[in-house]
Amino acid sequence: MSKNKFTRSLAGVAMIATVGAGLLVAAPAKATAPAVTINIWTFGDVIEPAMLRAYKVIHPEVTIALKKADLDPSMTNLTTSCSAYVQSHHLGSPPDIAAVEVSYSGYWRAYPQCFTDMRTLSTSAANANAQSLVPSSSNIASGLSANDIKNNYLAWRWAQGTGYNDSVIGIPTDVGGLEVAYRTDLFKKAGLPTDRAKVSALWPTWDKFIAVGKQYMTKVSAADKKKGVGFIDNVGTIYAASMNQGTYKYYNNNGTDAGQLVYKVQGNAPVYDPKTKAQKIDPKTKKPMFKKDWVLNPNITKAWDYTIKADNAGIGTRIGQYTSDWNVGMTKGTFATILAPAWMMDYIKGQAPTTSGKWNIASLPGGGGNQGGTQLTIPKWAAHPQEAWDFINWYLAPQQQLTVFKTYGLFPSTKVIYNDPALTGFKDPFFTNAPVGSIYLTGIQKLQPIFEGKLERAIDQAIGAGLGRVAAKKQTSLQSQIQVMIDLDKATK
């Protein structure tokens, strides 16, 4: 009995063992790729946590280490690292991916030697079956270089990642866009229409926008005016919006790293009278005097004039964006309009939740607009350029940008999905169910690529300071323009 039982149990164990072993062998062997850590230097919410979690499912062997900092320290870090690389030619240092913000793109485009030219990279098969692991994801084919994905993106966003020598140094993430967020309740109180289409029809141009502002201000009580109530939060935003609506800003691409400075041209310059601090009037002819001299280029002058006109009309408050006063002002109704990029909607919701349903979105005067945006780059000294390129192709692919939009509200820069109902049909109840998706879509497709040069930020800063001086009544418009010219000459020497 025992011998029989023993033999049978032995056989049983043997069978189980065999089956078990067989199952183990037969189970599809999970490709054990070597563990890799990708270092990403970023700021803000360029890299979203939910997407990282999804990528972890696709590639458990990849750890993504984020290092966030404010924008300026982040860019200084990149400069320091590139300088170290250029001197030592030491490869394999962090980061593998660096996020570069649009306001710095002019600078980095002058230094393509800091970055890997993405036209020379080619995706591996790493994400070719991504969808089978994460159903909402798309598959990324192997063998893709920058040239292959170029047409997925808005032309002018793509241009912001192209070096002066045509090398591709960065792939675009989201696009900010720019439209006008306005307070329906305040408009109604001032006797203005509140319907989106009607409001958009009120201001096809900046001149008309200023006129609407003036009309609004006539209904503002004197007491409120004293408290600093206005129509638009800050007239300085008009300058930036107008500049982006042209075809050039401060530079032309002449094939050199520095670019050709075109912030000033020869033209009819107003003669400055130090006594009146304005244009000199000829005592004989009583006509304003001009002379042949350097002037700021027509695009700058146009944007400047709009801004000053708005300021003179008294339609702006003196609140700076992103200050604590601005946050409070949103709730209190200190201003009725904000030139808002898509990502600002969430910010408004967070700062002023009690104003839900009192906002709407109208189109921007003068055409399309943009504020913000980032490119993901791969520095030349990256330790894992291949894995970085695979990640970037996945993260910034149209499908993934759409997912980011649905989860976080950042607008995709990939034009190929612009007919997706998730975008075109997107409405926001906080903004009176405005079809925010299609509004921003219309706007961002109107923009042209603009060449940005090395000292873009410095020039913006000098002009911004000039506008600020006029708004703070420290200088007259002409006086400030003259100083801006001096400052720009100094900055670009």
Binding site: D45, A65, K68, A69, Q87, S88, Y322, N327, M330, W343
Partner: protein, 285 residues
Amino acid sequence: MTTSIVTRRRKPKWQRVSLTGYIVLSLVALASVFPFYWMFVVASQTTAAISSPTPVLIPGGRFFTVIKHVYEVVPFNVALLNTTIVGLTVAVAQVFFSALAGFAFAKLNFRGQKGLILFVIGTMMLPSQLGIIPLFMLVSQAGWLDTLLALIVPALVTAFGVFWMRQVVDAQVPNELLEAASIDGAGVMRIYWSIVLPIIRQSGFVLGLFSFLASWNDFLWPNLVLQTPAHFTAQVAVAQLKASYVLDYSLNLGGAFMATAPLLLLFVFVGRRLVSGVMDGAVKG
């Protein structure tokens, strides 16, 4: 002996603290702590509450939610540990080396002494931002990037520390004491160890404390050389909370609160030592 007892008993009357004195101290204490309290209030409210037109002065109930969120974004405990390690090492090293050099400048005569101390003071006047790129390259070539060594080694000595200890030794250690010991046959090392160090111990402790603080609050340099979250220090960790283009006040101040609170706790313990140490020095003197 008699002299000291008599001294202690006849404490001058004005050394008592008047009501005015207490009022002044209370106001100072309030002003010192208010921003910290405000940090706590903001961290425990929603962002909307902070931007509301009526200022909020009472803490809300969200504090622990916010702190939980902070920990989700960064491994804060590890960051605090890293910061403590760096801070302690730097503090101890700075005090040790500064005391040595400070004593030498104050009490030993050697060639070039005057010039060297002036030079040391002069170097304190160079803006630190200048040396960032070459220092980074140095640290990078040494292979210390992304390690705590990059924070510790360049900070082992400081001109300020030497200057401070020199002042302290000069003011608190009388030459006659050292003369007497030297006549008694003690060597320089022995004198330093047994006489000078005990006297300057409290001031040394104060220096260590300040070094620790400076290290704790440093942001720019750690932000440059540290890469992976596991190696971050507290300030770098707090910077990770900047989750968007714009500021989530309650999250950021929650993180800042967490980066500050441990120091406060430290002081609750260290403060007592600090007081008794300083007091001891006074009585002994």
